[in-house]
Amino acid sequence: MHQEQERIEKIIAGDMRAFQALVEDYQRLVCHVVFRMVHNEEDREEICQDVFVKVYQNLSKFEQKSKLSTWIGRIAYNTCINYLKKKKVPLYEDLAPAESGESGSSPNKESYLDRVPGGAKLADETVSDKEMYKFLHEEIAQLPVQYRAILTLYHMDDLSYQEIGEIMSLPDGTVKSYLFRARKLLKERIIEKYPAEELW
């Protein structure tokens, strides 16, 4: 914490090397948030840059009330939200209800199955992690933006419910319940796609 303060002071004083070190330390976090929230590949890197330009310009306003990672995460999240608003992407959707065990074909489910070439695999085929992850990334991309952000911050950046709540201005309980619902839904998707026998 003390080192962090020292670094911030150096950056405010104009030390670009200190700033570069900060970018190196937090680029993963920013990249995770932006890449997960923004689908347009051409814009992603520039948005990541925007985030760090904002970090630089506002660093003197950073109060040590929260962790620097949370503060930077918040800037990244808000930058993406503003971008999506500009692009008129619907922001506050909810999860499509996923009733497991029912084979009723909601329009949602149909379009989902249409997107999966070949449908379910044969039981004797094994699924490589890589293939599974690819499928999963595609499924995550279909989730509402808040769910994507929460999954990413929790599983990629190991942030706590409280830290994620600070970043997204949500109560801890909401973060926890969104996380639970998203993972339950994704688990059901995995089971639909890959019959249980082939998972290990």
Binding site: C31, H32, E45, C48, M132, H155, F180, R183, K187, A196
Partner: protein
């Protein structure tokens, strides 16, 4: 959410709590149940795979020169802001200098002289009237302002040269 139901399978919430290492879950009970229940072991294994997939960073890559690109943009925006500040300051200095000249030179009599004589001798009359200035200490202020403007200009030229 994570209460024990001794006789039942682990709920979805309990399975997730198990992998989240949630302290609210009775881990001893869960371990014992998992040891005896292939159904829950299977569900847990699916969740484990999901968790691994959620932490998978494939495709999350910034270009190799990302840090340099950001630094360049920050520098450019700093210079842009600085340029504006500097330009503004220099315009202000110019206005102050002009105002000082207007207030402290005898420009009205110079103008009168101009209208009276009908000649274009405005500039010489200014020069003639300039000594009026040196009666106060305003010539020092004017000199300082001009010197500052000159320093500003040189500084700007140097910065621009360095960037080229």
């Amino acid at each position: 959410m994570v209460t024990d139901k001794r006789d039942e399978h682990l709920s979805e919430a309990q399975l997730q709590a198990y992998l989240d290492k949630d302290a609210a879950l009775d881990r001893k009970w869960a371990d014992k149940h998992l040891g005896n229940c292939p159904h829950c072991r299977q569900a847990l294994s699916t969740y484990k795979q999901l968790y691994r997939g959620l932490a998978d960073e494939a495709g999350f890559m910034l270009s190799a020169n990302f840090v340099n690109s950001v630094t360049a943009r920050v520098e450019a925006e700093k210079n842009y802001r600085f340029d504006h500040l500097e330009n503004g300051l220099m315009v202000l200095l110019g206005l102050v200098a002009l105002a000082s000249i207007l207030v402290f030179t005898d420009w009205s009599s110079a103008l009168m002289e101009y209208f009276r004589s009908g000649s274009i001798s405005l500039v010489p009359s200014f020069v003639k009237d300039l000594p009026l200035l040196s009666e106060g200490r305003w010539h020092l202020v004017l000199f300082a302002l001009l010197a500052l403007s000159a320093v500003g200009l040189v500084d700007k030229m140097l910065v621009q040269m360095r960037h080229r």
